[in-house]
């Protein structure tokens, strides 16, 4: 019944697999069963502070108040927009310093 069919050769897996890919799966995916040894992965500082940032699922991380990607321009178009606005303001400011009187103040 569960005889496996032929599979293509592994891609980026096995011994050389990216640690993030492995942690993402073994810590954040897979079936959760409360064993006899109860350990709450959310209590682990290393995981919450360092690894959670990298491998947390969006919903779980939001639950924990982690939403850095929403303000990371690389990951969110809204943040990219915000950054552009900030950068524009900064550039206007710089231009005003260099060339006073020629740059109108930004309309609010």
């Amino acid at each position: 019944m569960t005889t496996p069919g032929r599979l293509p050769d592994p891609y980026g897996q096995g011994q050389s697999a990216n640690l993030a890919d492995i942690l993402e799966r073994v810590l954040d995916k897979g079936v959760v069963i409360a064993g006899d040894i109860r350990i709450n992965l959310l209590d682990i500082e290393l995981l919450t502070i360092k690894l959670r940032l990298v491998v947390a699922s969006v919903d779980k991380a939001k639950e924990m108040g982690i939403d850095w990607w929403e303000s990371d321009p690389a990951l969110s178009s809204r943040a990219r927009q915000d950054e552009l606005t900030r950068e524009n303001a900064a550039l206007r400011e710089r231009l005003r310093e260099l060339d006073p009187g020629r740059v109108p103040r930004e309309a609010p």
Partner: protein, 260 residues
């Protein structure tokens, strides 16, 4: 020394032996613990390392975590070669065999349903990266030093426009590819993009997706990804797998088709 039971996965009974030299998270080879029509894949781990307190401390240690995660994945990987395992979360630990049996007994129905759903399928991971704009956007000539504030502003505008183009191309490319692959998969999940600080991968990860694909459809799936790889300058596609169906092992199916 007391030994606890570390459980890697739950499977249907299977005949093919696991590779002989396979070792589990603490060096003990994994064995099969059968109960009803289910099998738990279990190895012994020292109580001193896997009681609540020790485990808590160990998990704060990135080296320990890395070794344990890799060992866990290696066992699950070996199972994937011979059957369709239902992989469990890292560090699922019981006091003794009877605790494991009890767990199999209590969750037999749910395990059965999930195993039927996953039977004969594996997971493929696909990530889309945007190479740094400095590599991708205007590789040829470096910008001259701005002579004035206005030049500086022009340069920044030009750079920003090139970045925007790349971003919108990447978004479109990723959306198209995700749609194409979802059509060839039984199910798909979108995961949070990975941070390069841990993955060590170059560029920005803009799409991180997983696909549940039949084994006999996997070759075609992989070829489909391969064909798109050179299509888009500045954009990189990375395929990983075959994995056990980690991303599809949850019993809830609410997320099915999410993000398509």
């Amino acid at each position: 020394m007391t030994a606890l039971r570390y459980v890697y996965a739950v499977c249907r009974p299977f005949d093919t032996p696991l590779q002989a030299q396979l070792t589990g998270v603490s060096g003990d080879p994994p064995r099969l613990l059968a109960h009803g029509d289910l099998v738990a894949v279990v190895s012994r781990v020292p109580e001193a390392d896997f009681n609540e307190e020790a485990l808590h401390d160990h998990l704060e240690d990135l080296d320990w975590l890395t070794g344990t995660a890799r060992a866990h994945q290696q066992v699950v990987d070996a199972l994937t070669a011979v059957t369709t395992p239902l992989p469990l979360r890292l560090a699922t630990v019981f006091r003794d065999d009877s605790g494991v049996r009890l767990m199999l007994e209590e969750r037999a129905e749910a395990f059965g349903c999930t195993l039927d759903r996953l039977d004969g399928r594996v997971e493929w991971g696909m990530k889309v990266y945007v190479e740094g704009p400095e590599q991708a956007a205007e590789p040829a000539r470096p910008e001259p030093k701005p002579a004035s504030g206005r030049d500086y502003l022009r340069q920044r505008r030009r750079q920003s426009r090139a970045d925007d183009d790349l971003w919108s191309r990447a978004e479109e490319f990723a959306t198209d590819l995700h749609r194409t692959l979802s059509d060839r998969a039984d199910d798909a999940r979108l995961h949070a993009p990975q941070n390069p600080r841990l993955s060590g991968a170059a560029g920005r990860n803009v799409l991180n997706a997983a696909y549940l694909v039949r084994r006999d459809a996997s070759e075609e799936f992989v070829e489909r990804v391969d064909r798109t790889k050179d299509d888009a300058p500045g954009i990189r596609v990375e395929l990983t797998g075959p994995w056990a169906a980690y991303s599809f092992a949850g019993e809830e199916e609410k997320n099915a088709g999410e993000g398509s």
